[in-house]
């Protein structure tokens, strides 16, 4: 095993250990791995399968069912743009169009500089002050095209 595979195995094992004995530990385990590594590396799946007595197909099935889990690294910043009705009522369709154009990517894609990944989300619970955008764990309300551009520019400058 390569040194990176050894390191990965250590992470996976310590995560599984920390959720030992829990009912339905797979979701918390997947979340923890993704929190630590930004994604679920394909090599980690057989490690989880072995340690948790699950088949690789089962783990794949679970990963692909949920929108949150990703098998590949995301950009430095994840932008979740709300596509649901309250935000639509406040112009999120136009904002969505603008965002894709400004970043030059579609949903599920990452900008070539690796700074941004754009994802759709269906409601962020901020529906009185729409449109809503989640940048990593930070929420933004009443987002206009200008506000979007400002946020992007700030993050680009920080880089």
């Amino acid at each position: 095993m390569s040194s990176s595979a050894v390191a990965l195995k250590e992470i996976v094992e310590s995560v599984i250990e920390s959720h030992q004995g829990k009912i339905g530990a797979l979701l918390p385990v997947l979340h923890s791995i993704q929190d630590k590594l930004g994604h679920i590396p394909p090599e980690s799946i057989s490690m989880m399968a072995a340690a948790m007595s699950l088949s690789r197909a089962e783990i794949h099935g679970v990963m692909s069912f949920y929108h949150d889990f990703r098998g590949e690294p995301a950009g430095e910043n994840i932008l979740h743009l709300c596509r649901a009705e309250a935000c639509q009522a406040m112009g999120s369709r136009e904002l969505e169009h603008h965002a894709k154009e400004r970043l030059g990517i579609d949903y599920g894609e990452t900008t070539p500089d690796g700074l941004f990944t754009l994802e759709p989300v269906y409601c962020l619970g901020n529906c009185s002050c729409s449109p809503s955008l989640r940048v990593n764990d930070e929420l933004h309300a009443r987002v206009t095209a200008e506000k979007f551009d400002d946020l992007i520019a700030q993050m680009e400058a920080r880089d």
Partner: protein, 510 residues
């Protein structure tokens, strides 16, 4: 003594800059040598006034809002935190009519307290219900819940006491309490607001549920889209545990109850209780066939209470104040209060809690003040993404479960999403199908495939390709989905679609 200033830590308030405002107030006060204590309270749900800053005085709390970071220096210059003459000064909070006219039962503490302070919670009758429940026999607790007339607030409005009776009556070594905090419906945020403003209410409710049915383990299934909420809940749970309100021997009794906070992974369908249970078991969130009911075979095949956040919150009030207190708030079969969320294109959006009986028009016009854009309201979607679009002729409907059902609508979780006259109902119908396609659990063909076909057919109708024929195809497709779907995802998606076609035909005929 320090002057107490409150700046909400609620997600919407933060999205509007509350963190920066809190920081600037601390710095501004320090710079001026003022003795100010900034407390991060929850929101009262008047989101149109957020960030709303409150200052405690002898005659009550003075409010300022909406306060942006740029307003803070000007506020200090005008005399803040003293009685400041400032355009953002709203006077006493209790005098803000949008709030004063409400009758807060579930949200009575929201915004008043530091959400994670047990002391604050207990100073306002928190944990009174649990103390009482600890003295009661399980059947007596269940009877009290039955008498209150509480119906589940997650959408299906099933009587909570009857559900608990089933779990109590089912013999098993282990039973579970599951709090459904998946709040997936767009246009809703009442669960989030309660959890971020007054989390112990629901935690106490879960504990009482455990005592009532004989469960020692509880799970909160919180959607991953709520990171702020997650922070508040984890903090509240660990404090409750440290103080002996959770864990072994709660409150010095010989009863145990613990709660594990679990995070969803971005799947709308996991709000449905059986899908949620599969997800908690670490599986894909597929809908289960019912029966067996989760009350009999739930988590890990064992008897399980699954209740919504607001239902469990109401439990602490019912036990603290008695069943009659809760029941007397309602009308007919809708007991307790109505909590609605004013969302979308609305001038004064937020959470409104009232006795049942108000009409949709009263809410949108009196409380909501019409649209944010200033244009006329054209359509209102009530009850989340599976709820119908109501045209003007239906806005006098009373907002209760039965009255809405009579016109083919549903109250659901109480989301009210307002659209102005720029809305295109054909696009809204298309979105309903698209959402179903994205979020279907995939178990039944009419839902999984029908929704994809639905999007295509609506596109053809809009493009005027064989329009009359395709409208018929869409109608058939809706029938198939209604009849052939195992759950409300596929079964109700046709409702918003059909209401759009029925009430706004011109949008399909351009």
């Amino acid at each position: 003594m320090a002057i107490r200033v409150f700046v909400p830590r609620d997600a919407t308030a933060c999205a509007l800059g509350a963190d920066a405002v809190a920081k600037l107030i601390r710095e501004g006060a320090a710079g001026r040598g003022l003795d100010v204590e900034v407390i991060r309270n929850g929101s009262r749900g008047a989101f149109w006034l957020e960030p709303m800053v409150e200052v405690e005085t002898d005659s009550g709390r003075l409010a300022f809002g909406p306060v942006g970071a740029a307003d803070v220096p000007g506020l200090f210059e005008a005399g803040f935190p003293g009685e400041a003459q400032h355009p953002l000064a709203l006077g006493l909070v209790d005098g803000i009519s949008w709030l004063a006219r409400q009758q807060r039962l579930t949200f009575v503490r929201a915004g008043l307290i530091d959400p994670v302070s047990l002391e604050d919670y207990q100073s306002l009758r928190g944990y009174v219900g649990l103390a009482r429940a600890l003295e009661m026999a399980p059947q007596a607790i269940v009877d009290e819940v039955k008498e209150s007339g509480l119906r589940g607030r997650g959408g299906a409005a099933f009587p909570t006491g009857i559900k608990w009776q089933t779990v109590l009556d089912t013999v098993a070594d282990q039973k579970y309490i599951v709090c459904n905090a998946d709040e997936g419906d767009s246009g809703t945020f009442a669960d989030r607001l309660l959890m971020e403003a007054d989390p112990y209410q629901m935690i106490e409710g879960m504990t009482i549920a455990g005592l009532a049915v004989g469960a020692t383990e509880g799970y909160i299934y919180l959607r991953s889209e709520y990171p702020h909420c997650r922070k508040v809940l984890s903090e509240a749970l660990s404090r409750a545990e440290q103080a002996g309100f959770l864990g072994t021997g709660i409150c010095g009794s010989n009863r145990d109850f613990s709660i594990d906070l679990r995070i969803g992974a971005g799947a709308y369908i996991c709000g449905e209780e059986t899908s949620l249970l599969d997800s908690l078991e670490g599986k894909r969130g597929l809908i289960r066939f019912k029966p067996p009911l989760p009350a009999i075979k739930g988590l890990m095949g064992l008897p399980t209470v699954v209740n919504n956040v607001l239902s469990l919150g109401a439990i602490s009030t019912i036990l603290a104040e008695g069943a009659a207190h809760y029941r007397d708030f309602g009308t007919g079969r809708s007991r307790g209060t109505l909590t609605v969320q004013l969302a979308g294109n609305i001038k004064r959006g937020g959470l409104v809690e009232l006795p049942f009986g108000a009409t949709l028009r009263e809410l949108v016009e009196d409380y909501g003040g019409g649209t944010a854009s200033g244009r006329p309201v054209r359509a209102i979607q009530v009850g989340g993404p599976l709820g119908t679009y109501l045209p003007q002729s239906q806005w006098d409907v009373a907002l209760d479960y039965e009255a809405l059902a009579e016109i083919g609508g549903m109250l659901g979780h109480g989301g009210i999403v307002v659209f102005d006259d720029s809305v295109d109902l054909a696009q809204q119908a298309r979105f309903a199908m698209e959402f179903c396609a994205v979020e279907s659990c995939g178990k039944c063909t009419p839902c999984r495939i029908g929704s994809v076909r639905g999007v295509e057919v609506i596109d053809r109708i809009v493009a005027n390709e064989e329009r009359a024929f395709n409208l018929e195809v869409l109608d058939d497709l809706c029938d198939t989905m209604v009849e052939g779907s195992l759950c409300a995802m596929g079964g109700l998606t046709p409702y918003p679609v059909r209401s759009a076609i029925k009430h706004f035909p011109e949008d399909f005929n351009r």
